[in-house]
Symmetry: C2
């Protein structure tokens, strides 16, 4: 089985397609639930499947520290370890090294850092990141890049992008091709249109199985993010999937799909689920709010998840008020189900040539409250 992406329909810049991998197919647009340390927080693998998720993400940084890539490999890989036979995308570890690790030292060769857990020293290079992801048995391996900090001057952004390109080449060289497995390059270029175009072209020439757009959703704002997507996606190969890293709110997802993005990941639905924030077809609710104390209605009457089909808003409120673990469990399940439904609805709308109307309908629902 080849790793492939088949474009099924386009509606404006929005695309519907199917990603075929060694571990199964994924209809796009799709949202990848984040399973940082080999578990989507507060969810069994069965519960993740029940949300409609087809692909999950693992974090190289966390897994290389604990349990280590070698241990995951000895356990038969990440799929087996976490009971997720479906596709798994792993990041390169670079982003978390910059946001979590201590005493980082960036060099051409790679980055030396100390673990945020116990101070142990590690070295992460394009080659080592690629090797770790191979050991994890990632269906989709990401190149090691430098996520250019925001804001960056033009010169800083250009230098950082050039490093990302050199590292992309080394990551590609280190990638061990296997049938049904792929590797994605990562476009950088900060908020500079010409750099974004240059980066997309440079990476496109390297022949990756897909392309991520990095360095966005780092404080530049939605308008700038959309502007960068608008210049980037037209420069990427049409026949390859595009993945916008670390994005975002439901609204971000709709807007980014409209600008040609196929894949997303974000901790938002899972993190929100643990902190009582509910994403629904009526907008965002804080389930700790006392207005829900006697609300015998379902959280979202359009949702078929466990929280919505079997329980009331009052019960969810009660669980969070009592700090019961079932609160985060049910609300994470709901939020992920909401994200999956949003993307499934987008996919169906694109296939029907009605994406704009779909977005308008969804946004009107959020306004209802």
């Amino acid at each position: 089985m080849m790793f492939s992406y088949a474009l099924q329909a386009a509606d404006g810049a929005a695309r519907a397609g199917v990603l075929t991998t060694a571990h199964g197919e994924v209809g796009t647009p799709t949202f990848m639930a984040v399973g940082t340390a080999g578990t989507v927080k507060a969810m069994t693998a069965d519960a993740v499947r029940a949300t409609g998720a087809k692909i999950v993400l693992g974090n190289t940084y966390h897994l290389m520290l604990r349990p280590t890539a070698e241990r995951v490999a000895k356990l038969g890989g990440l799929h087996k370890m976490m009971d997720w036979p479906g596709p798994i995308l792993t990041d390169s570890g670079g982003f978390q090294v910059m946001s979590l690790a201590k005493l980082r030292k960036m060099e051409e060769a790679g980055v030396t850092f100390r673990s945020h857990l116990d101070g142990t020293a590690y070295f992460l290079s394009p080659e080592r990141s690629t090797e770790i992801q191979h050991l994890l048995d990632a269906t989709i391996t990401m190149v090691l890049d430098e996520c250019t900090p925001h804001p960056a001057t033009y010169d800083e952004a250009a230098l950082s992008m050039a490093l990302t390109h050199r590292w992309a080449g080394r990551s590609r060289a280190a990638f061990v091709a296997r049938e049904g497995y792929g590797q994605f390059g990562i476009v950088q270029g900060s908020t500079y249109e010409d750099l974004r175009r240059e980066s997309a072209a440079a990476l496109g020439a390297m022949g990756f199985e897909g392309y991520a757009i990095g360095g966005l959703a780092v404080g530049e704002g939605q308008a700038m993010m959309y502007a960068m997507l608008e210049v980037t996606t037209p420069c990427l190969p049409v026949e390859k999937p595009r993945y916008l890293m670390g994005v975002g709110t439901p609204d971000d997802l709709l807007g980014s799909v409209a600008r040609g993005v196929d894949m997303f990941d974000c901790v938002m639905p899972t993190r929100a689920g643990r902190t009582a924030r509910a994403y629904t077809s009526h907008g965002v609710f804080n389930m700790r709010n006392a207005r829900f104390i006697d609300d015998a209605g379902p959280l979202d009457e359009r949702c078929a998840c466990l929280a919505c089909s079997r329980h009331t808003r009052a019960y969810l409120h009660h669980l969070f008020r009592c700090e019961e673990m079932l609160g985060p469990m049910l609300l994470t399940a709901h939020n992920l189900t909401y994200y999956q439904s949003l993307m499934l609805g987008a996919r169906e709308a694109i296939l029907a040539g009605a994406y704009e109307a779909y977005c308008a309908g969804v946004r009107a629902g959020w306004e209802d409250g």
Copy 2:
């Protein structure tokens, strides 16, 4: 449908039977998972069902504070609120008032106390406890008793027991009989054989649908607990179920079944599941122990739960090491499954007249390590 208990077999003092209630049947001996605040901690209701549990317990004290009995009633009762259509036993609230609440004042009429959460004053009497349990829609209502502190002098124990008997009478008078619902009296008497016999006889005369044995597992030790069971269960009506409150370890359960107990509840398997303690057919393990870091075997090869059938000891160790919520979720599911399997095995052994051999086999497994 009548609330009834059918004795199916006896093997020595050990009994197998079937409890029939408005909310379904329960084979005994049985273990009731504790769902304190309307949720078995770290478990969805589906996950509780998957452990083999047929009946769960709710705590009146916690529920009367949050969300309040009246709110539970407005949500359609505890069964509907927590998605547990099966039988639910609720305690009377008395035990938690004594162990958790502040500024308690015991009087003949009842107990006045302040909530451990916010200091709000409450009054709990036999009548109010019974009313609360009615509002919760408890399948089995417990009488309000005084759990005699340990140790107690003979006179203290006798006085406390007499109060429990008077409150049992008032609880019985307040109980609104409904088809398939029942109320259990509670035997007290501390560590005094004649008081235990007197209490069993006095309560037996009141015609409850079942009998709990209270005031044990409060520090008197397993030998004394067994001694008290041996004098108590022969004094209880043969055709009614017996419930040993708050017990215990797997070994306690086996020994208590051998002494004529049919029902148990305890926070042990759920609490242990949250603190990395695993009950298995090979004894108790602490999953945080580094010996499991590379252990690719199942937690318990004889167990069919999610943790044992889909994951490794190494993964469970990893989850606890990373403080991932899935660790408590999976280990709670396992521990409850282990308790249910232990009771199911006991039931089958009693029906086959082989209970002693069953216990010997289970205990030999624990010794293996």
